[in-house]
């Protein structure tokens, strides 16, 4: 075990898989000489060369489309979209192509592709450097979506994503890159896609969340503990496919569920989590399912007060938790 930053765990996962398997390569904007605008791929071009850490032209649909072609051929590309907000030109490639390649060819072709994209706000990124876009892709069968909250999960899930035979969207909260650090097992280490993790055991209320909000919710749970409320906290880790069993078990355990995500509320992952609980555990509930999410506005504004208004924080989460506990 070594304590590592979230960003370094991602870097290490790429590096280790590239050393292990020469079909793995990286392509994206500024990933080579610059080492990525966030420095995730720093030093990798020096080790693996320009051909395997490839600076592409500034054209997201080509980044995705070329990666899909290479994946169909048999490589394992890791495509970086510089900000999740800029993935839009590539959506046709991801949804019409990557997600359907196996299905439409009756299992003849497939697409072992990872698309990494930094998402999330609270970093003065304004409308187009702050978005959470998991819900857009969440609806699409054929894709997997991973959103790790810890450095250990970032490494283990990225290695799983690279080895996965199907397309995986790997969303990294840019606010966590240099904020989060934890024990990461050394060497080869995987975390299975599709398994949630209980981050905290509790008896009074359940919080279900993912990404940066796991940390805010943990802080809020700590605060509520001192007030005599004990919290079960489930980190989804993978949002597609959802870990239905873990969600239902966590809901049943306390009978009071709060779903938290940074993404806006309407049609978000929380809606599906809520539906799963309603379908499978309604009569085990002691309170209506609660959701605390970003507001339904197009995106996060630039000016600090409006940005803070948008973002969830431990205080906002604690308030929602108290309300639920008191129900």
């Amino acid at each position: 075990m070594t304590v590592k930053l979230y960003i370094d765990a991602i870097h290490d996962a790429i590096q280790e898989e590239m050393r292990r398997d020469d079909s793995v390569f990286v392509l994206g904007e500024d990933v080579g000489v610059r080492g990525g605008v966030f420095r995730v791929t720093q030093g990798l071009m020096e080790e693996f060369g320009e051909a395997r850490i490839m600076d592409t032209p500034l054209a997201e649909s080509a980044i995705a489309g070329v990666a899909i072609g290479a994946a169909a051929y048999g490589m394992k590309p890791i495509a970086e979209i510089q900000f999740a907000d800029f993935i839009m030109p590539a959506v046709n490639q991801i949804i019409s192509e990557a997600s359907k390649m196996r299905y439409r060819s009756n299992n003849d072709w497939h697409c072992p592709l990872v698309i990494r994209a930094p998402y999330g706000g609270g970093v003065h990124g304004a409308l187009y450097h702050s978005q959470s876009l998991e819900a857009l892709f969440y609806h699409v069968p054929g894709l997997k979506i991973v959103m790790p909250a810890t450095a250990a999960d970032a490494k283990g899930l990225l290695i799983s994503a690279i080895r996965d035979p199907d397309p995986v969207l790997f969303f990294e909260h840019k606010g966590m890159y240099r904020l989060i650090k934890d024990d990461v097992p050394d060497g080869e280490y995987t975390v299975p896609i599709g398994e949630a993790a209980v981050r905290r055991q509790g008896a009074d209320i359940t919080v279900i969340t993912y990404g940066l909000m796991v940390h805010h919710a943990l802080e809020a749970a700590q605060e509520l503990e001192s007030e005599g409320v004990s919290t079960e906290l489930l980190d989804l880790r993978t949002v597609a496919p959802l870990d239905r069993d873990a969600i239902v078990a966590a809901a049943r355990k306390t009978g009071k569920v709060l779903i938290v995500h940074e993404d806006n509320k309407t049609g978000g992952v929380g809606a599906e989590v809520s539906a799963i609980i309603a379908e499978e555990a309604l009569f085990d509930l002691d309170a209506p399912i609660a959701r605390l999410c970003g507001p339904d506005i197009p995106a996060m504004p630039f000016c600090p007060p409006m940005e803070r208004f948008y973002m969830l924080d431990p205080d906002k989460i604690a308030t929602a938790m108290r309300r639920l506990a008191a129900f």
Partner: protein, 328 residues
């Protein structure tokens, strides 16, 4: 010396090319009839473009090269190994359809065995995939060409431009083959592109673009051969534009009478490569009337047998619809 021998093609080669053209035409016409008889729900036609397709495909090497064809490229799919039965199974959407097990419309080619990469309906999405195949092959040290085809209307899509630029920057072994049949469904080429030729677009990406008469099978072959050799020499991509004509409406659901004059279509029929290439083969003594008749009879029998087989073949059980979303 005949024109085809100057290009390095044997008499057998050109007879074989002609045979593939006739096969594509016969399959297309049969599918169309089956559609009008209410037996198959949809057809998208290659009629009129077979010469360009077969001329292009013969410059490639099945087994070595990858093809990422668009939905009209039946001639290419046949040269790369799909059979009449495969095509009919796809037309009838039967379980054995090698492209998709009956999941996709006809014309959505794909078979790993033949290096035909699975395609979709949104146009031009296959073009960056061809660049990806070429890039991957270079990373692996495999010497091959990635061929991708599309219509002139599709050359307006961002994916075409992004893919050309990517291939140009990295000098990848890709041949971009535009089958310019003059219409994107109903919209004529003068309303589609601001430049004179689709081939002009290559200049913006730093590689050659050439325009050839798509009814001149040997001319298409020659232009494609140059492009393939350039790619294999490591000199990068080429855009080849074949000027051709679609003799049928866009699809079985289209009515072309509202957007083009019958005289125009009739005139195009007189330039049909199946006629002109047949005449050429007669003129150089590679084909005679008897041999032509035998060939057409043999193909008709193959198409009959393929139709009968495909019509009787089972559909996939409905629950098959749940399979192959993911690997497991």
């Amino acid at each position: 010396m005949s024109r085809h021998s100057e290009l390095g093609l044997s008499d057998d080669d050109v007879r074989n090319m002609y045979r593939y053209m006739l096969m594509a035409r016969a399959l297309d016409e049969r599918l169309w009839l089956l559609n009008r008889a209410g037996k198959i729900p949809f057809v998208v036609s290659c009629k009129g473009q077979e010469g360009a397709q077969v001329g292009a495909a013969f410059a490639l090497e099945a087994g070595r090269d990858y093809v990422l064809p668009y939905y009209r490229d039946l001639g290419v799919a046949l040269v790369f190994g799909q059979t009449a039965t495969d095509v009919m199974l796809s037309g009838f959407a039967k379980w054995e359809d090698p492209n998709s097990g009956g999941r996709q419309m006809p014309g959505h080619f794909g078979s790993r065995e033949h290096r035909i990469v699975t395609g979709s309906s949104p146009v031009s999405t296959q073009i960056p995939h061809a660049v990806g195949v070429a890039l991957a092959a270079r990373l692996r040290g495999e010497r091959l060409v990635a061929y991708t085809s599309f219509g002139e209307g599709s050359s307006n899509q961002g994916d075409f431009h992004e893919a050309c630029n990517f291939a140009g920057v990295h000098r990848l072994p890709v041949v971009f083959f535009c089958e310019n049949n003059g219409y994107a469904i109903s919209v004529p080429v003068r309303k589609q592109i601001g430049c004179e030729r689709v081939a002009d677009r290559a200049a913006g990406y730093g590689f050659p673009g050439v325009t050839v008469d798509g009814n001149d099978v040997l001319g298409v072959y020659a232009a494609m051969k140059d492009a393939v050799e350039r790619a294999l020499r490591g000199e990068g991509p080429t855009l080849v534009e074949a000027l051709t004509y679609r003799l049928n409406p866009h699809s079985s659901d289209d009515d072309d009478r509202v957007y083009r004059a019958r005289e125009e279509v009739e005139e195009a029929k007189s330039r049909d490569a199946i006629i002109t290439f047949g005449q050429y083969l007669h003129s150089v003594g590679v084909l005679n009337t008897e041999r032509d008749g035998d060939l057409r009879k043999e193909i008709a029998q193959l198409v009959d047998a393929a139709t009968a087989y495909a019509e009787k073949a089972p559909y996939a059980p409905p629950e098959e619809a749940l399979k192959y979303v993911y690997a497991d």
